[in-house]
């Protein structure tokens, strides 16, 4: 910089020094617009998160001042038999829910993409559950799962002479039953995103593949799925986070004994909720949220790493 300024008088005329250079003006605008979200995230997101980390090291119970107890909450958590159970439940939701919901929504989106007739209506139909309140939906599904004369599913099964299933009252079937509801609730959103992804693939790729002699299945495997990968990665991460944080469906479908029967459906978020708002052990609940946070972070990063673009 200095050198060009020294050279300047000989060549071109000295430009007047401006304080508001183009760069400074741009920076002003950039920071002006960034200020709002930065403040928002600082106050609403990062501060509470940081605070939770600190609380997890205390014995706060809402009544007295929190006092520092080191890692006691964590040692207690990892020794807690309930935690092991909740941990397994949470991962059951994740490991079954994410693949099933993704495969289902892809199949539906793929089919819808080819339908020319009533396309908008069908799409709206699939999207409806996504905008319905979780509690209303959960109650409808509770009704579906009731014993024979009332519950449609058992009614249907008994029509074929199949014995009654206890669904929500069975320790084996309650978790899958709730998962079905959760999958159904999230399906609409995933379908819309998959359809947008499918639409974005130019038609000539398919035409070229057809000319090269590929069948439908080969086109799906060699062209559609690879080109849809960015969409799929997004949905895998998004849906995994959703299942790891599952709460609404469980809470609303097991109101008599939240997370029951016998804790067989209880996910981590429900445990946190109960620790915080039934037992008022805020420090302990904070430690649990920190664990949840870590799990979310690790799972998301792991998925992004596994599904990264290899060149």
């Amino acid at each position: 910089m200095a050198m060009t300024e020294q050279g300047a008088p000989t060549g071109r005329p000295n430009r007047p020094r401006v304080f508001w250079t183009m760069r400074r003006r741009q920076l002003l605008w950039v920071w002006g617009f960034l200020a709002v979200p930065v403040l928002f995230y600082g106050v609403i997101r990062f501060y509470p998160t940081g605070h939770a980390f600190w609380l997890s090291l205390t014995d706060w119970d809402l009544m007295s001042e929190p006092s520092f107890i080191g890692l006691d909450n964590y040692t207690r958590l990892f020794a807690d038999p309930q935690f092991g159970r909740v941990f397994r439940n949470t991962f059951a939701y994740l490991i079954m829910g994410t693949p099933i919901s993704l495969v289902l929504s892809f199949i539906i989106a793929y089919a819808l993409d080819r339908v020319r007739f009533g396309h908008t209506f069908l799409r709206a139909l699939y999207f409806l559950p996504f905008i319905t309140t979780a509690s209303a939906m959960a109650w409808v599904w509770r009704w579906f799962y009731q014993p024979a004369p009332i519950g449609v599913i058992n009614d249907f099964l008994s029509g074929f002479g199949i014995p009654q299933l206890a669904f929500l009252n069975s320790t084996t079937w309650a978790l899958p039953s709730i998962m079905v509801t959760a999958i159904w609730a999230g399906l609409g959103f995933q379908i819309i995103i998959f359809m947008a992804g499918l639409r974005a693939i130019p038609n000539t790729y398919y035409e070229a593949a057809r000319i090269d002699g590929l069948g439908e299945w080969a086109i799906l495997r060699r062209i559609t799925l690879p080109l849809l990968k960015p969409t799929t990665v997004f949905l895998v991460v998004f849906s995994s986070i959703g299942f790891l944080r599952i709460f609404d469906q469980v809470y609303n479908m097991t109101t008599n004994d939240p997370g029951g029967p016998l804790g067989s459906t209880k996910p981590l978020v429900l445990m946190i909720y109960q620790t915080a708002f039934s037992s008022y052990e805020m420090g302990y609940a904070a430690a649990q949220t920190v664990v949840l946070f870590t799990i979310l972070l690790v799972v998301s990063l792991l998925q992004l790493w596994i599904l990264r673009e290899r060149t």
Binding site: E207, R210, D212, G213, A218, P226, L227
Partner: protein, 343 residues
């Protein structure tokens, strides 16, 4: 290898017809070039031959078999698209090899073909790149490579050279011609570029508004265009047209005359000369090309282009005379624009 025949081929989108019942017979091993202005239906015709576009009427025969209801893959045709259509998630090598996806060849044979095609197209150094890291011309060559490795009944090319620079285009023209000579496969080739059409074609098919105006060898089209449109479309710079009349056995320029006289700029020579036809006018522009100079001048309210020897560069504003020898005049009916022979 196969013949291709179009019989009263019609294509309509809803109520609008874009191809109006065209007929064409392409011999086995023939190199046919479709030319015509943008939107005249060249791509549509090609896509119907490939099986990508449904046929609204008429028939397409490939090797004497009606293929109207046949899937593209069962027609055994290779196609290079106007917008390349090479897959972004595959390397250049994989893209080219994709043409052999259904081929029963062994892995070694496939590799050998890919290598051969890459060498011919100058892509050897780029084989492991993704299309995102290629220039437009390189992508187009990959698309050509994907078609080349196959052994199809016919090749269809939709403006394959449109994104290349002049030098590469000239080179690729030769490569495609050589490919044709080596394989002897039937080729249907679409282009805007009349130089491409003239240099590559065994036969040129001139299209306009979904009709075939004329089909013939490049020389036939150049020497005996059937109407004004074809005459002006083929040849560069394009043919001059002047209203004319026949007076005492001679053709003379005359505004409002019953004839149109067509003169190729190369036949209209500037300078004092006795010819079958001569005109004069005020020079408006000159384009020295090296071996010769193109002189634009104004006559009968129209701009006419004549050629002058290289060293003769007339001043703008000066009056110039130009004449054409006997046999160089193309006559057309002024009303119907149909050809009336040469004089």
């Amino acid at each position: 290898m196969a013949t291709i025949a179009l019989r009263n081929l019609v294509k309509s989108y809803g109520k609008t017809d874009v191809i109006h019942g065209i007929n064409l017979d392409i011999a086995d091993g023939e190199f046919v070039v479709f030319v015509g202005p943008s939107g005249c239906g060249k791509s549509t015709t090609l896509r119907m031959i490939a099986g990508l576009e449904e046929i609204s009427g008429g028939e397409i025969l490939i090797g004497n078999e009606v293929v109207n209801e046949l899937d593209p893959k069962r027609r055994n045709i290779a196609m290079v698209f106007q917008n390349y259509a090479i897959y972004p998630h595959m390397t250049v090598r994989q893209n080219i090899a994709f043409g052999l996806y259904t081929s029963p060849l062994s892995r070694e044979e496939k590799d050998a073909r890919v290598t051969e095609a890459a060498t011919m197209l100058g892509l050897t150094a780029l084989l492991d790149r993704r299309p995102a890291a290629l220039s437009g011309g390189q992508r187009q060559r990959v698309a050509i490579g994907r078609a080349m490795v196959r052994d199809p009944a016919a090749f269809l090319f939709d403006e394959p050279l449109s994104n290349l620079d002049a030098q590469l285009r000239a080179q690729m023209r030769i490569e495609i011609k050589r490919l044709h000579q080596r394989l002897g496969t039937t080729i249907v080739y679409v282009t805007h570029d009349q130089v491409e059409a003239m240099t590559m074609a065994d036969r040129i098919v001139v299209m306009r508004d979904g009709h075939i105006l004329q089909s013939g060898t490049p020389t036939e089209i150049y020497e005996a265009p059937v109407n004004v449109f074809t005459a002006q479309f083929i040849g560069s710079p394009s043919m001059n047209l002047l209203p004319a009349a026949e007076v005492g056995g001679r053709i003379v320029a005359q505004s409002g005359g019953p004839l149109l006289v067509g003169l190729r700029p190369h036949d209209l020579v500037a300078g004092e000369g006795e010819g079958a036809f001569s005109i004069s006018g005020e020079v408006t522009a000159v384009e020295p090309l090296g071996p010769e100079t193109l002189v634009h001048f104004q006559t009968e309210g129209r701009t006419v282009i004549a050629t002058a020897p290289a060293r003769m560069v007339p001043a703008i504003g000066s009056t110039i005379q130009a004449s054409a020898a006997a046999g160089a005049l193309y006559l057309f009916d002024a009303k119907t624009e149909q050809a009336m022979g040469r004089r």
